[in-house]
């Protein structure tokens, strides 16, 4: 088994008590360092996390995925990691993909590797979700002048050294767009790798609703006005 002790897995988590134990157990077969940022969960997730072999950071209140990711970045920046991989807590991502990302970030000179559902597996994405994602991607690409195929994919690999150049201020889901803006501004080297998303009934139920799509859009407009 390859040694991935210098690749940290970062999981932002909010109310995933039903699945988180399995997700961590699967990941821990490959990765030694898993950082979970519990973002003020109220469903007992924290109690489960306390029993697992992980680095646990606990937000006392719910602040949003962007904030959880940002806290994770701060923690990992101070650690001995060489790179990190962001991973969704709801079991949508596969550990095999994470392994591919880990090898890719360690063996390449890219600062960031984005995951994309649209390179290979776009047919797996539900139709409405696909439309919302395409719209968000087009807007983000337009604002950041980048050429990505999937800007709101939770799986990314990032070199630790690049974290000092990334500053996330948006607490909500639109932090992904802010992240991409940082990559663009700082001229970090990036690439995309296909990922497969496993849309289970649970993840569909838990996933982002169309209303969240509007909130993302609102955040994007605010970000654009702030520019």
């Amino acid at each position: 088994m390859q040694d991935f002790s210098k690749v940290y897995i970062l999981i932002p988590l909010y109310n995933e008590a039903e699945v988180i134990e399995n997700v961590i157990k699967e990941l821990s077969q490959i990765f030694q360092n898993i950082v979970v940022v519990n973002d003020g969960s109220t469903d007992g997730s924290l109690d489960i996390l306390k029993t697992l072999d992980i680095h646990l950071i606990n937000h006392p209140i719910n602040m949003g995925q962007g904030s959880a990711i940002s806290t994770g970045f701060n923690y990992i920046y101070e650690s001995d990691a060489e790179a990190l991989i962001t991973f969704d807590a709801d079991g949508q991502h596969s550990v095999e993909d994470a392994e591919i990302f880990a090898n890719a970030i360690l063996d390449s000179d890219y600062d960031v590797i984005f995951g994309s559902r649209f390179i290979k597996h776009s047919k797996n994405i539900p139709f409405i979700k696909r439309c919302v994602l395409i719209l968000a991607t087009k807007i983000t690409n337009y604002l950041s002048k980048m050429h990505l195929t999937d800007t709101h994919n939770g799986m990314k690999a990032i070199k630790k050294d690049s974290l000092s150049k990334i500053n996330i201020e948006i607490n909500g889901y639109a932090f992904e767009s802010e992240f991409i803006q940082c990559i663009s501004k700082r001229k970090l080297k990036y690439s995309e790798i296909p990922t497969n998303i496993i849309y289970t009934e649970y993840s569909k139920w838990k996933g982002q609703s169309l209303m969240n799509g509007f909130i993302i859009l609102e955040d994007l407009i605010k970000m654009w006005l702030k520019k």
Binding site: L49, P60, S67
Partner: protein
């Protein structure tokens, strides 16, 4: 007497809007429109009509409604900005609390 006092008070507030430092231009505009609205509501319908005519709005009541809507919009904007600033501060605070109390299960 009270009318004069209120007009002076709102005028001072209006002028204060020029010198007070604000974090957002909307907050400054809110103070301007709010104090103007105060002056209009005090000076009486005849004077308001004259000002409305001068501005080409028509009736004084219309001017009053327009200015009220503008003030409400600016107030909402001002409140949202305040909430966002507060949220940002709470975020920074919560994140630093979380990082200072890290539970490294691995080391337990």
């Amino acid at each position: 007497m009270i009318k004069t006092f209120l007009v002076i008070l709102f005028s001072i507030l209006f002028l204060y809007g020029f010198i007070r430092p604000f974090s957002s231009v909307f907050s400054r505009l809110f103070l301007f429109s709010g104090s103007l609205l105060g002056i209009l509501s005090v000076i009486g319908i005849e004077q308001t009509d004259k000002i409305a005519n001068f501005l080409g709005v028509g009736r004084g009541a219309d001017l009053f409604v327009y200015l009220s809507l503008l003030t409400i919009f600016l107030f909402i904007n001002y409140t949202i900005n305040k909430f966002e600033t507060l949220n940002e501060k709470i975020s920074i605070l919560s994140r630093s609390i979380a990082l200072s109390k890290i539970n490294k299960n691995k080391d337990d």
